[in-house]
């Protein structure tokens, strides 16, 4: 299966998606779902307007802060639960069940605690992101082969040397997977937060557009978000593959 044939097939699928979009537009009507081409035009015109950029900045800021919290707290919990066997055994099922819960139900609680401003969305995004980071970091540390630790002792490494030069490189690939998944769910959490009771941010832009029946605006924001998420994920995946290839 040559790379060019694969790329061509993928382009065929993309084309099929565009065609179905056009068909759906014909069925659904102008205000419900605009056609692909007008959407693209609208996007190019509005991408640089101050209104769009303001919303984009808000979302970006919230995402940034939320990621710092997700990664920081998630890594700390993951390292502790990975290194301390008992805490890991006790805590893992708790984290796993939290992970599969509809966390949107907790959003009102977050709002009551943090208010309606940026902090609420940041907290909600972090609430989403902490879990996969913690779980995968814990897994990474737990599955470090015992023989690495014994080798480190045989070579008379200090505890600090063992952590920095053996444990960390060994656990890095899987930890990075956690960071990548954490990125995705943190973004989702931030967007969900913005879709409810919010006046700023890309999520609220979409909800606004629904209420005002502005189809092109909706699709524009959706496309921007999709493209951003896909590219960011692609980048993180590329780094992840490079880390994993050596293992």
């Amino acid at each position: 299966m040559t790379a060019t044939r694969r790329a061509a097939d993928t382009l065929v699928i993309l084309f099929a998606l565009l065609v179905s979009w056009e068909l759906l537009h014909k069925i659904a009507g102008e205000t419900a779902l605009p056609a692909p081409l007008p959407t693209l035009v609208y996007l190019l015109h509005n991408l640089t307007t101050p209104r769009f950029l303001a919303n984009l900045t808000t979302t970006a800021l919230e995402l940034g802060y939320a990621l710092i919290l997700s990664y920081g707290i998630g890594l700390a919990i993951g390292v502790w639960m990975g290194a301390h066997r008992l805490s890991g055994a006790v805590g893992e099922p708790i984290l796993v069940s939290l992970y599969s819960l509809p966390k949107i139900t907790l959003y009102p609680v977050v709002l009551l605690m943090f208010g309606l401003g940026i902090s609420g969305k940041v907290a909600f995004g972090a609430l989403h992101g902490i879990l996969p980071v913690a779980l995968l970091t814990m897994g990474a540390i737990r599955t470090i082969p015992q023989v690495y630790l014994r080798s480190a002792r045989t070579m008379q490494l200090s505890p600090w040397q063992t952590i920095a030069h053996v444990l960390l490189p060994a656990a890095l690939p899987e930890i990075f997977t956690g960071l990548r998944i954490g990125f995705t769910v943190t973004l989702l959490g931030v967007l969900l937060g913005e879709m409810f009771a919010s006046k700023e941010g890309l999520g609220s832009m979409i909800m606004n557009a629904v209420q005002l029946l502005q189809g092109e605006e909706m699709m524009m924001v959706a496309i921007v978000l999709f493209a951003f998420a896909a590219i960011a994920n692609g980048l993180l995946l590329w780094i992840e593959h490079r880390l994993h290839r050596r293992v």
């Binding site: 008992l86 139900t105 189809g215």
Partner: protein, 252 residues
Amino acid sequence: MTRIGLIRLVVVIVAVGALELACRLGLINHNVIIPPSEMASALWTLLASGTLNAEIERTLGMIALVIAISIAAGFAIGCVIHALPRVREALDPFFATYYAVPVFIFYPVLIAIFGLSIMPIVLIGVATAVVAMIIATLNGLDRVPRVLAKVARVHRLGRIATALQLQLPAAAPYLFTGVKLSVSYGFIAVIAAEFILAPAGLGRDISEAYADFDNRRMYALILFILIVATLVNAVLHGFDMRLAQRRSGGRA
């Protein structure tokens, strides 16, 4: 119960107890979080009055519908794609990125197309859950050892018998992981949709209670959904562990 299970139970009880104490002592503002015991009693009253039954039916019914469609369609589509390697390779980048993009932001678009009804909720639910089932089906069918097909031919089994008696059981643990994910994604998507914008349902009920400053009702509903979701996921997880044990030989 194992020693670790016991410790876990104690940890949870202590956590809930600490929350209760903090609320009762006034360390936590009553307008922000109410004591867990009040949450429970509010829920009990609500359930006993029967006023919630219609909403419970509606929401849980929609979740069940979403899950059923996702599992059936996901499995069927997965089988078809598995039989067409070239299509699979072309779709690979999409499957890889599907759960990296916030698919849920299409929910408002669906509302614009179908109006404020059941359709957009069911659609976004299926859209979220079905791909997990497809990917799990592909994985499961991949893991069916090739030697099984040869064994089937030695025993002169037809194609359907081979599929049902050998391939399906071999793929079952992976398929079940897909079921588990579909269930949890179905829950998450439907509740989120109802919460953000919907004509009715438990999710919308929570957002209304929040807007009305009716904390008792709000926390009662939150508690209900958390309990149901936790129970369902826990039961499925238990099954998954038992299936996994069979897969790995049963010896710890």
